[in-house]
Symmetry: C2
Subunit: 407 residues, 2 copies
Amino acid sequence: MALIVQKYGGTSVGNPERIRNCARRILETQRAGNQVVAVVSAMSGVTDGLIKLAKEVSPEREPIEREMDVLLATGEQTTIALTAMAINALGGKAVSLTGAQAGISTDRVHTKARIVNITPDAVKKMLDEGNIVMLAGFQGETASGEITTLGRGGSDLTAIAMAAAIKADLCQIYTDVDGVYTCDPRVVKTAKKIEEISYEEMLEMASSGSKVMQSRSVEFANKFGVRFEVRNSMNNNPGTIVKEETPGMESVVVRGVSLERNQAKVTIDDVADRPGISAAIFGAISQANITIDMIVQNVSHDGITDISFTLGAAELPKAEAALKAVLPSLGDKTTLRTQSGIAKVSVVGIGMRSHSGVAAKMFKALADAKINIQMISTSEIKTAVIVEESEVENAARVVHTAFGLDA
Amino acid sequence: MALIVQKYGGTSVGNPERIRNCARRILETQRAGNQVVAVVSAMSGVTDGLIKLAKEVSPEREPIEREMDVLLATGEQTTIALTAMAINALGGKAVSLTGAQAGISTDRVHTKARIVNITPDAVKKMLDEGNIVMLAGFQGETASGEITTLGRGGSDLTAIAMAAAIKADLCQIYTDVDGVYTCDPRVVKTAKKIEEISYEEMLEMASSGSKVMQSRSVEFANKFGVRFEVRNSMNNNPGTIVKEETPGMESVVVRGVSLERNQAKVTIDDVADRPGISAAIFGAISQANITIDMIVQNVSHDGITDISFTLGAAELPKAEAALKAVLPSLGDKTTLRTQSGIAKVSVVGIGMRSHSGVAAKMFKALADAKINIQMISTSEIKTAVIVEESEVENAARVVHTAFGLDA
């Protein structure tokens, strides 16, 4: 008998029929001789509907965050009740637990709380009584009993954290794709499903645009050593196992290629090359709550340099406004240039650590396809380049082929 | 400074605009120098939508009641969050509390739990910190932390029970009418709002079809001496005060006239007049979970009698089925007759105790209008008659006039 945590996203529980399908799958898992905790998200569309209501009752200001959490937590509470009902209707035995009831304690940072502790006594007791436990994802409770939510990707985090707390044998993240692919199959027809991927690779893929899961859940799994499987709730195909790095994994140099569209570039020309300049620029950006990606600064000539960085195109107006305020302090001739309509292509793989020539091979493949590289950024297990948005799909295809990833 | 509990029903919070109207009213009450706890129901239509979903995921059986409570509790949780947001957006300071967070402890009878205890520490603390407390109606928590709901009229009960627990100075039940009327104004144009009514009268009015509130909330208020006001959330008119009986109240003989439509009558003819017969009849009815109203048994002739009772017309088929099973045991010639298309008119008033001739005056008014009385039932403060459904409105009007209730 194994102890299994499953997680079903909003699409998988998007209507009564789909809820019943999930209920059947959960029940089959239990009947195969396992104990099951199933984490569910809000039905797709429900959270957006609640946010719309919140904005309508609070037009003067952003809805206050404490109450946003009370509101949004109803989405998952609805799904746990409906799924537990469905399982019982199908002849099974299920009980639902909210985050608070399941002992998920968080800090007090409403709308993006962090889990500080899990006391899984209620979950264990209900499992031991033969129940399937339907657990509300995305939510928890502060020490003083206030409802909190965990922010984006919160339901995945609930599943992985609960799997760690109850020492589950298996954690399955059900989604609407078969697993993690070597590239987006809509772009690269020859992309194939990855059987096993390390936490680090999964993190780099996520940060490079392959949004199967939010990075924080993968980071949590990495920290607590929770091996999990990303699989499809609509079929029985095996998925992708995400786990600690094993020696054999390094034999594959590049695990996957990911692409991220709608990027923009900001270049600050003729900046004085003296201490405090970068701090002034990125302090202004950070204060405006803008998340940036690549930063490139080249060597200076005559005490003058250029600094470029990339960010999501939607953030560009905010970034321009923030920088204009500090521009005069950066240098006498400092100017600001921006460009949208660019995209990022990354190759990711822990094998890069022990294999040289990955960047060279990537650049050659792009050059052969006459694709110009605008910026380059590398990490230990990733090489990323910025290209024209119109060329990103072709870039992904040629790189995918160059590293032998085609099925 | 007064401590006020207000309650707003589903229609009053039925959309974002109405929620903001309630928020304004609540905030005005606080700004007038009071502490305010506001109890809200689910937005109108929400509970029905959730019940529909429950039936869709559980077509094989009634959705299990534990999960029904988890599901339905989301309705009020949504409203408390939205109303608290609206109050904050309007410049006030509000926090929401679910039933569990507010310390409302109930028994374990899911979907119709009873409040066993209220620990209002969190409510008091939040009030003392200058907050308006938005409290979810209709819900509580068992000693072991499971979510329960209180059944029909549950939000009124939450308001009255919390008012008792925190020793509120005033409890206002906001609804979509101006208060309790001497009769349904849609039927009797001259009906007027009652300024004060005793708990007993309110109970008899409720049980006679004037469904401003469920009886159990009035009973609870009576038991704990909670004086409350029924008033309209759409205007500022004074409402009806429901309170303990005072000597002056008896000077009005009849407080109001109520009518109840869609009644049916069951007559069992030629029943042997011996011990156990009534028990057999009403035992069968009770086992079928049918609620009955009037019972009439006349004196017997030659050891044979007739028994009649009334009930809601919708329950008639169930009652017939239940009785047919026991009919042979009631007497050799026993037969069953049923009649629907009848209605009940009642006059209610604690003044009846000390005034004679109420029944006679009622019967004369009906006789003058050529309305035939089919059955009569009386209590200490009520006289009720059954008439043809087609005559019930006219009956209510002539009785209303006869007792001097016309405005």
